[in-house]
Symmetry: C2
Subunit: 347 residues, 2 copies
Amino acid sequence: MITIRDVAKESGFSSTTVSIVLNNAPLSRYIPAVTKKRIERAAEKLGYRPNQFARSLRSKRSHTVGVMVFDMTDPYCTLILRGIENTLFESSYLPILTDVHNERTRFERYLEMLLDRRIEGLIVLANWLFVDINLLGDLEKSSIPIAMVGSGLKHDSMSSVVVDNEVGGALAIEHLYSLGHRKIAVIRGPRTLGDSSPRWRGIRSFAKEAGLELDPRLTFDLPESRDPSSSFQAGQTITQDLVKQKVPFTALLAFDDMTAFGAIHSLNRAGLRVPEHCSVIGFDDVAPSALYTPSLTTVRQPMESMGAQAVAIVLEGINASLAKHDAVAVHRKVAPELVVRESTRKL
Amino acid sequence: MITIRDVAKESGFSSTTVSIVLNNAPLSRYIPAVTKKRIERAAEKLGYRPNQFARSLRSKRSHTVGVMVFDMTDPYCTLILRGIENTLFESSYLPILTDVHNERTRFERYLEMLLDRRIEGLIVLANWLFVDINLLGDLEKSSIPIAMVGSGLKHDSMSSVVVDNEVGGALAIEHLYSLGHRKIAVIRGPRTLGDSSPRWRGIRSFAKEAGLELDPRLTFDLPESRDPSSSFQAGQTITQDLVKQKVPFTALLAFDDMTAFGAIHSLNRAGLRVPEHCSVIGFDDVAPSALYTPSLTTVRQPMESMGAQAVAIVLEGINASLAKHDAVAVHRKVAPELVVRESTRKL
DNA sequence: TCCCGAAGTTCGATTTAAATG
DNA sequence: GCATTTAAATCGAACTTCGGG
């Protein structure tokens, strides 16, 4: 390996000067262009790459951001991760991605590993359940900027980026309503999931305003579960029961896209075609939704952008602490967007 | 921050002894239990965490493995990544995940960043196209163990883990044949993709053996593209043309699951129900396949296991180089598995 | 020679303080 | 004081050498 001393020897200057020149340090403005040229040429010639460990040891910076996902296999993560990765790349930060599988021990172990690597910021993708207060305590004391994506907990030492669930819920029901649907089945999210109640609030407040009645016999809750793909299963069984119940309905509003997939599956089994016999709308717009048969009408979360915003917040936090002003936590609520595809149609 | 010297002071021993005890170094067998206890207690009490930069600087080890994905949004990646993550976690290695978006510049930049961080091994997830010889050259000279997952290139300085495409192709056609199908449309992979030709070879050799005739008018190729989701599009348009062509067929064998989704979509549009009017089989068994309507019969790649195997190979390589024996590249071909679901049925 | 522990060097960079003309 | 350069201290752990019992 080539060290800074090799470059010093090759260029004929001291390693101090080499360091100053190659880092464009403040002092470098005193250094004449010829010297710089010679040093740069020497470094180039030798293929010098500074040792990051030595550099980090001295400077106490890692140029690294930790990313914790609660479950990678959830398609909800994919695009958010891409947004994160893209934005970090532009700033030359390297992400360290960890997947905690919704397990507490994994969470703790990974958090420790990340802090050991001196990550300068942390992004938490809390895509599904798992809201543990103690756990947040562990995070707080780390004193690095933290942003949570996709979970509504407002904590004042951690920033957050969430979709506006209330608006989203309203958007969904409004779409069905405007297509002429009046008997609408609703599958709400699990009670303890932060997204569930605001989304339901949005639905109810639109219904009230429009004079639409939501039949309690057509309203269901997803069960609690730490497995995101379970919402497919639950969507299936709930819809089975719904059909058996014989209370008529012409549309179904699902808590998320996975639930919608499960619902469509069961509707088909029962001989009900989507959208001919029943319209179905989801939430999220995960990647498979566009590829489904029929392609799914849904309320999109701008996931890539949410990831990008989380990074922006964390990077600002890092810069603030470098400049010794301390940044306060930011809470951003982003607007969802209705995406109309094939699974809904006029009554 | 608490340093080793603080622990030394607290425990009353020198930092040398502390280092020896805490790392369980060879010399530690001379150190009496009481000393160890006292040092461990002091470390515990102070909450000592060794500085990884200092440690790595000295030991020249990073306990880090690089993972390069060619396109994260490809659902094919998800489970492989989980397999990788799981296995690395067990060995206390930390993955650094990079997504090169199928772009050469990103590839180069990330490779540089990873090598700068002194990754001890590299896993490349070459899920889709992009086979560039020069690029492999860049990799080779890095002299760390490398394993490629999902791409068939046999390079003798890099290990690889791939599914047995020939067996897989045969499995797929055999399934359709055994259900009584004789007029089978086939959508092959892109010509330049490594997986395409062995898969086709498997199909043909089974057909030959079984006396099944493959009508050239029912055989198509996916176009080249660097976007994995394009195979959905291509599957759609090819199937549209196929239907228009009016050459009768009762089953369709798609290159991969995405293609199958596109095909099902177009069949539905044309009023052909799957599997009632046409059976469809895919390849890969990506996560959405189980959730599709109808759920997709497919040939599964054991992706999680493939990821795990890649890690195992790389870790072996690392250990070998630590022990000064040099490891040779390993090429593993793993067996695919037929997964029968709803999209195929007896004629 | 075996056991126990410490002093001092090293890893490769950054940074401070200081020396030159 | 100014422009230019550098010797030496520093970051925190690991390892080599050495000394005393």
